[in-house]
Symmetry: C2
Subunit: 128 residues, 2 copies
């Protein structure tokens, strides 16, 4: 099983997250909990099961994320971390990458590991 | 003095924030506290004074933000809210807007108001 045990550096989390997403996104399930939230392109979902249904149902089979920037800050006294990523992604046979922005709040689960509590994803379209 | 009293809707906060930023950004000071963090284009600052020095020292005199998307989720049981904004901005006489992404975590201050605890800003460049 995947977990975030010993993954406390945001860079490690982000690399792990997108490698897993791009490789076999069914395996992201271990990162979410019943109280996790995902807002994907404006559609809100809550709970690991609904989030996995959303992520595995996305209408592409191949996807590759490329991270352009990653910033993190402490988000609460309990050790939570907020992470903002900007980057580009390519789906299926598409040749033109799309820009995106994604925010995670990682919360400690009280057992030495972290899970994704907040997850917000948006494609970013070029400014007119 | 500006404050966020009664501003609990993320949309209201975001409108207020950018109107103030674009109008007279010295007046953003009321939104930050000594423990607030800003990471602006990779440069970290902490505390309202340092944050205001950073924001007022940015090398443009005119700026206009245009919000393209706004997503928010509850970030903690204390009523904190995480907000991700994507949008475009124009500075000075520049004709071409730049895309940006910004994350805020708004925390209740215990006196019926909110303040900006986390603030991360990045320009988003078009995917290659």
């Amino acid at each position: 099983m995947l977990d975030l045990y010993n993954i406390i550096e945001p860079e490690q989390f982000v690399e792990f997250y997108y490698n897993t997403f791009d490789g076999n996104r069914t395996q992201l399930a271990g990162l979410y909990r019943p109280n996790s939230m995902l807002t994907f392109e404006q559609t809100p979902t809550m709970g690991a099961d609904a989030i996995m249904e959303k992520l595995t149902g996305l209408p592409f089979s191949k996807v590759k994320h490329q991270v352009a920037s990653l910033d993190a800050q402490p988000a609460a006294e309990d050790g939570s971390i907020v992470v903002m990523v900007t980057g580009a992604l390519l789906v299926d046979e598409e040749q033109r990458p799309m820009s995106y922005s994604q925010v995670f709040q990682l919360k400690p689960d009280g057992q030495g590991s972290y899970y994704v509590f907040n997850d917000i994803f948006r494609l970013v379209y070029p400014a007119a």
